[in-house]
Amino acid sequence: MTDYSASEMMIVAAARALKNVRTVFVGVGLPNIACNLARYTVAPDLQLIYESGVYGAQPARLPLSIGDPTLVTGATSVVPMADLFGLYLQRGLVDVALLGGAQIDRFGNLNTTVIGDYDTPKTRLPGSGGACEIAINARKVYMIMRLSNRSFVEKLDFLTSPGHLSGGDSRAKQSYPGEGPALVISDMAIFDFDNADHEMQLTSLHPGVTLQEVQASVGWNLRVSAEILETPVPSPEEMNLVRVELDPQGMYR
């Protein structure tokens, strides 16, 4: 059996979810490794789009940030951010965006702004960056987040990036161009929103994880799909790519 960590399981599961996707809006860190793993495996034609203005990146090293110069050299096109956000994102050319956040609620709304009160914050977080418009305009959004009941909360302290808002048809009423959150890929389980309420529901447990453990890490009474799958373990090929090619220093282990 292949040796892997919970984080690596999360990366592999995210990469697999990109099968047949043409364009993906990539964040730094875990999303970046997942997208590059997908290029080597399930999505060889996957085009990487970075909010820094890069389309069709072919990084020669694992980028240190979304603005790494290795993303520029050898890319198909590098444009002003005005064009990246206007002509690519808002135009509807992003099939999937990968997002994370400090807090997520059951409808996939994200908080990356503040813990505590906005004006007298307990912890000041980075803020929206491009996340607010990405969540509105990307065709689909996949979240990659580690499970914890500090992150998966009953109520956000601040709604930075809209998911399915209050569920049901509340997102549809906003006439956003994008469909919103489709998947949440965590280190313990995978969730989707495939129900009329557009509420997060458990669909797959990573090997060795129990439903009880997941419920204990989520701040609300978790919805569970009719059938719970077990996430296939990372293959030797996937693990080899992650450990040898993509994360040789084990930064994301």
Binding site: R22, T23, Q47, V54, Y55, G56, Q58, A60, R61, D68, P69, T70, V72, T73, G74, A75, T76, S77, V78, V79, D83, G86, L87, Q90, R91, G92, L93, P177
Partner: protein, 298 residues
């Protein structure tokens, strides 16, 4: 080109062949005439000779534009005949200013519901075109003109070079080609040269249009004659002067269309008929850009 036009340019669609003075894809215009398209809405900031010829051939019933002229020469006589005398068929028009057209393409390309610009107030243009409207600013008591998004069914863009996948680079006058391409539902790129992916990737800041939004790539050297392509050939000004005479007369215009469009199967035949001497005369001297270093970061 024959296949790209027959696949994407169908009767009744709206078509934008863009390129301001330069990069005007006459090769596409002639193919559309040859395929006898009907009822097209033609969109172009400056209809130029290419739409004068297409309108003379009766392919269009509606024209969206901002400047009707033979640049540096005079009038577009065929467009004027259609507008003033409904010859050969009636042509309705919809006009903006240059920045209005630019803004319409931008709004279309960026999926904005409108584009605001400082123009039109106090003029007769909003009377002539009720789609020119005004919006109140929420930050002051100021009102600003707006134009609606423009999303052509098909955009046809001529360029110096593109890959087979449609990743396209242009230099020289950039006009509204990028905006028109991103605004359109279907994009046809016509290139002087088809190049390897590595050529494009060696200078990513020069890529104007990504293959992602391109539906067909046509290799058509000299496809923009008698207009020009920066660094490849000059404008054939004798042609622009000749057209000013020919187009004044309906019969002469039709004779010209017969000889140079209908009775010519494709662009290669057109170029052969034109003669290599004419093309050679249009070749510019060399003015190479310097190279810049993007650096390797591995």
């Amino acid at each position: 080109m024959q296949e790209a036009v027959s696949t994407y340019v169908r009767d009744g669609l709206s078509v934008a062949i863009e390129g301001f003075t330069a990069f005007i894809c006459f090769a596409a215009g002639h193919e559309i005439i040859r395929q006898r398209r009907k009822n097209l809405t033609l969109i172009r900031m400056t209809p130029d000779l290419v739409y004068d010829q297409m309108i003379a051939a009766g392919v269009a019933s509606h024209l969206v534009f901002s400047y009707l002229g033979n640049p540096g020469v005079g009038s577009l006589h065929c467009v004027r005949r259609a507008v003033e005398k409904q010859i050969p068929i009636p042509l309705t028009i919809e006009e903006y200013s240059h920045y209005g057209m630019v803004g319409r393409y931008m709004a279309g390309a960026m999926r904005m519901p409108f584009f605001p610009l400082r123009s039109y107030a106090g003029t007769d243009m909003p009377n002539a075109n009720p789609d020119i409207r005004f919006v109140q600013s929420p930050y002051s008591d100021e009102s600003i003109a707006v134009v609606p998004p423009l999303n052509p069914d098909v955009a046809i863009i001529h360029a110096q070079r593109a890959t087979k996948q449609g990743d396209t680079q242009l230099w020289g006058l950039l006009g509204v080609q990028k905006e028109a391409a991103f605004a359109a539902s279907k994009v046809i790129v016509v290139a002087e040269e088809i190049v390897e992916d590595s050529v494009i990737r060696a200078d990513p800041n020069r890529t104007l249009i990504p293959g992602l939004i391109v539906d067909a790539v046509v290799h058509e050297p000299y496809g923009a004659h008698p207009s020009y392509v920066q660094g490849y050939y000059d404008r054939d000004n004798a042609f622009y002067l000749m057209w000013n005479e020919v187009s004044r007369d309906r019969a002469k215009t039709e004779t010209w269309l017969d000889e140079w469009v209908y009775n010519v199967p494709d662009r290669s035949a057109y170029l052969e008929k034109l003669g290599s001497e004419t093309l050679d005369d249009l070749k510019p001297g060399d003015a190479p850009s310097s190279s810049v270093n993007y650096g390797t970061y591995a």
